[in-house]
Amino acid sequence: MAKLILSMDNLVLKEIPLNKERTTIGRKASNDIQIDNLAISGEHAVIVTILNDSFLEDLNSTNGTFVNGQQIKKHFLQNNDVIELGKYRLKYVNETPVPASQADFDKTMVLRPDMMRKAAEQAGAKPPEAARAPMMPSVDMNPPIAAAAPKPAPAPEAASAALLGAIQVLNGSNAGKTLELVKSLTTLGKPGVQVAVIARRPHGYFLTHVEGAKFPAVNGVAIDTQAHELKDHDVIELAGVKMEFFFKP
């Protein structure tokens, strides 16, 4: 279950579990989290929790609510976000416990009307565990390619080879032209006549015949229906065009 760690000047004051649908924060005693300080409004902010997700909302407070230095009106809380109210810090901690088996993660489940309440009850009943490894869904992801700015974890990145491949045309009117194989699929050839595709996968680049009576050739030998892994400096021949595949340094 998610929780907040309240601190001021780096001194931890208390830990607050998010076991209610609405957790209010403010100066008045009626709040779930009461912070007795004039910089905090009577009703400053609220955290709405729906199963495993929490949303922070500022309630038109005088001095505003900030998350990781940015003022927010409404914010979808992520693990380790730091909420700032005046001089107080509330760190949002949501470490999904490691499931019984890896395979339980991502299982589709039916949400029945009574489940929301049950899930909250179950979450409250779980004994606090000393050390739980954060379950980050991207644990088995390949690192994103250099150019892309690092994105926050969970959603999977398009998996691609660590090295960037390219093809250079060797004959005909386009001789000398180079094409970088950035996309996950690059189609070559003439639709309706002969088409092949170069697929960019985590473990390399693969050439596969798509359509046409004739199959493409690599280094003079026609490939079969299976995907053919391309090696540095392989020469591909397709629809009369010869091109060299190479990895960019």
Binding site: I50, L51, N52, D53, F55, F76, Q78, N94, T96, Q102, A103, F105, D106, K107, T108, M109, V110, L111, R112, P137, S138, D140, M141, P152, A153, P154, A155, P156, E157, A158, A159, K183, S184, L185, T187, P191, V195, V197, A199, R201, P202, T208, V210, E211
Partner: protein
């Protein structure tokens, strides 16, 4: 009545894989290009009850609809103005739901089992689409990919009510919670819609094992690049899901519409038949 045969105008390909993490495959697919029917189900439940639920869905529906369209053709209108395709889909899905539900409650091993459903019946230059849960139908037309079905999931409801944006949804911890499923209750609420179909259209039915692992742009690129080779296209989609982690079973059915398929003319009345004797 002549048996329906759309196999010349509609091409289908399927691929279903347990993924990189799970040991068994609880997805089930059925492609019947002759009848113009495609059914995909993503099962859930303890042990391998999910496999039982999803394979019941595809097998029972495949059989039931084949018989239903031997009685009347799909385009025939009933008294209330609905097509027989619509009526048959709703009715047979309800029947299949009851079958799965009864299996679930009468067998402790199968308690709580259920399955999502997405299915398409092609007829008369259109399609009837029935779905329950978060398995999806996409359409690629003129190079543009669009999602035809609307997920029945907690996440989708949050997006619909403006609570989170689709971009934020990617980071939600509440993925994979469906609000509707087959086999979990005696009654089921099937969402049904009819859409026009054009030659050149490519349709993709898939379980969330695909769209949770692969972005829509990548799906669109794959469908556009490999539409000439449907089996290769299906395999590539599954490979992409596995390359990105393959955390769930992944299944796809691809359908390509090659030509128009208007319904045969309705048999004429007695006057026309008498006239035709004399001509």
């Amino acid at each position: 009545m002549t048996k329906i045969d759309l196999s010349d105008v509609i091409e289908m390909a399927t691929c279903s894989d347990p993924g990189q993490v799970r040991t068994n495959n609880e997805d089930s697919v059925l492609a019947n290009p002759q009848l113009g029917l495609a059914v995909l189900a993503d099962g859930m439940g303890g042990y391998n009850a999910g496999e039982v639920a999803s394979s019941m869905a595809t097998a029972v529906l495949g059989c039931e609809l084949e018989h239903a369209f031997e009685i009347h053709p799909p385009h025939q209108l009933s008294g209330d103005g609905r097509t027989w395709a619509n009526a048959a889909l709703i009715d047979r899905v309800a029947k299949t739901n009851a079958a799965i539900y009864h299996a679930a409650i009468s067998n402790t091993k199968y308690n709580g089992m259920g399955t999502t459903l997405v299915m398409v019946q092609f007829f008369d230059n259109r399609m009837a689409v029935a779905h329950i849960g978060d398995s999806r139908l996409y359409r690629l037309r003129d190079g543009e990919l669009s999602q035809v079905t609307h997920d029945h999931s907690l996440l989708q409801e949050q997006i619909d009510s403006g609570l989170i944006t689709p971009e934020q949804a990617r980071f939600s911890q509440n993925k994979n919670l469906v609000t509707r499923a087959m086999g979990v209750d005696a009654d089921v609420d099937t969402e049904l819609a009819e859409h026009a179909v054009l030659p050149g259209d490519i349709y993709l039915l898939c379980s969330d094992g695909l769209n949770d692992m692969v972005e829509d742009e990548e799906i669109a690129l794959t469908l556009s690049s490999l539409s000439a080779n449907l089996p290769l296209c299906a395999q590539q989609l599954v490979d992409m899901a596995n390359d990105s982690g393959g955390r769930d079973n992944v299944s796809v059915i691809l359908v390509k519409i090659k030509q128009p398929f208007p319904a045969p003319e309705m048999t004429s009345g007695w006057k026309e038949r008498v006239q035709s004797w004399f001509s």
